[in-house]
């Protein structure tokens, strides 16, 4: 399996076998990601970290990953200090980064931006989120989290909760989980239901997702509860938003209805959808999930750069 020089734009560009390979490599990266072991496999390599949109976890974990591999990072986390403000095209910015570095990570507010970046760069491009579009490294770290906690991805009963309509992570996650033949249940407010196209994709992969509005019932025998944030900007008025966010709250009371070993995941940032009291319980996996971004991104960076442990 050869990843050298490949772009990472959409999870759909990868076969299940390739995803498995990435997850295996991620596992090997964990002690290095934790700083328990050291490696220099990307010594002398430079990563361009181009964040045209704010991000905390994705940017920091990419930059940590490159540093942990012995490489270096250049870039920006806010385009206001760049020529983009003067009207420079993304294509031109990418051409520059291409000549200054060995790999490019890009987050951009426009859908398809990473695909476009890959057209203009000879070095590999990693999509760190393009608008409401794709975010493949998030998807991979979610899979990795389920795999490490549950020892396998197959056959798990997984509930996706929250904004299933606009949430950029849940669409690719539903697709990727379907590759593994899990049991999917979607729980969302009526106005934020999973789009038909995504449900059809799951079906094409042999998974029949269930949809329900009852969270209590849905989690009663679930292995994984994946919670997403409901974005305020999606709602025309505050009242409607408050009504919708109020419907589903994950707290210790709710989790009494769940299995003892249920894990609660969230791509973060969270607002009010998971109460802080859950953080202290063994169910709370979201911080570990955020950490998993580092080994997964280390695996990707080393695979596409041809570096081996």
């Amino acid at each position: 399996m050869n990843f050298k020089g490949r772009d990472i734009i959409s999870i759909k560009d990868f076969s299940k076998a390739e995803i498995n390979h990435i997850l295996e490599c991620s596992k090997k990266m964990v002690p290095y990601a934790k700083g328990e072991k050291y490696t220099n496999i990307l010594k002398g390599r430079v990563l361009s970290s181009l964040f045209f949109e704010p991000s905390t976890r994705t940017r920091l974990s990419f930059e940590s990953a490159m540093n942990r591999l012995g490489g270096r990072v250049i870039g920006f986390s806010d385009p206001s200090g760049t020529s983009q403000k003067k009207g420079e095209s993304l294509a031109d910015t990418i051409r520059m980064a291409d000549s200054y570095s060995d790999v490019i990570v890009v987050r951009h507010p426009q859908e398809g931006a990473a695909r476009l970046a890959a057209e203009f760069a000879d070095v590999p491009v990693l999509n760190a989120g393009d608008g409401a579009g794709r975010h493949p490294t998030q998807c991979l770290l979610d899979l990795f989290t389920i795999l490490t906690e549950k020892k396998k991805i197959e056959k798990n009963k997984i509930v996706l909760l929250g904004d299933l309509k606009y949430g950029r992570t849940v669409h690719s996650l539903a697709y990727a989980l379907s590759l593994y033949g899990v049991e999917l249940t979607f729980v969302s407010p009526g106005s934020l239901k999973m789009p038909k196209e995504v449900i059809n994709e799951c079906k094409e992969l042999g998974v029949e997702p269930r949809s329900t509005s009852s969270l209590e019932k849905a989690i009663s025998d679930a292995d994984v509860l994946y919670v997403t944030r409901i974005q305020k900007e999606r709602f025309p008025d505050a009242e409607e938003y408050n009504r919708v966010v109020g419907i589903y709250k994950v707290d210790n009371d709710l989790l009494k209805h769940a299995r003892k070993d249920i894990i609660v995941m969230h791509p973060l940032p969270r607002v009010t959808e998971i109460k802080p009291e859950v953080d202290k319980t063994p169910h709370a996996l979201y911080f570990k999930q955020a950490f998993n971004g580092v080994p997964v991104r280390m695996a990707l960076l080393s695979l596409i750069s041809g570096g081996r442990l």
Partner: protein, 150 residues
């Protein structure tokens, strides 16, 4: 052969079985008459066995079937007939190419291809008839392709 009374040509190309109402868009996609000085005649809402259709006739010019294939986007049943000495010398049913470049604008307002970037719009064909395409960049499928012709 009622249709022939519209106009008979000696040499040239007849695009037949165009989805009724789409002849002008077909010409637009082909860049006709801008790119050619040939006489072009258009017949719209012509009655045929399979309902109404449009027909385009281009005199003294043999269109390259490959070049014309992209009209399958809005006229999936069209045929390209090369006329030589009043006879149909070649007949070709249009077939959508795998990719459609620079013809359709993405319906997603926040798609990168709708901004000031040095790229042409680009779509991957996912079904031929009726045509379904998705944006190479953002993966959005336009609902009404004819509406989105640039």
């Amino acid at each position: 052969m009622k249709e022939l009374k519209i106009q008979t040509i000696k040499n040239g190309t007849v695009i037949d079985h165009i989805t009724a109402g789409n002849a002008v868009k077909v010409l637009h996609i082909l860049g006709i008459p801008k790119t050619s000085s040939s006489t072009v005649s258009v017949a719209m809402n012509v009655k045929s066995k399979l309902g109404k259709k449009d027909i385009v006739k281009v005199e003294n010019r043999e269109l390259d079937p490959q070049e014309v294939d992209k009209i399958a986007l809005i006229a999936p049943k069209a045929t390209i007939n090369i006329i030589r000495d009043f006879e149909v010398a070649e007949k070709h049913r249009v077939k959508l190419p795998k990719e459609i470049v620079g013809i359709v604008r993405c319906s997603n307002p926040t798609c990168v291809s709708n901004f000031n970037e040095p790229v042409e719009s680009r779509f991957i064909v996912i079904r031929e008839d009726p045509p379904r395409i998705k944006c190479y960049f953002c993966e959005r499928e336009p609902e009404d392709i004819a509406e989105r012709i640039i």
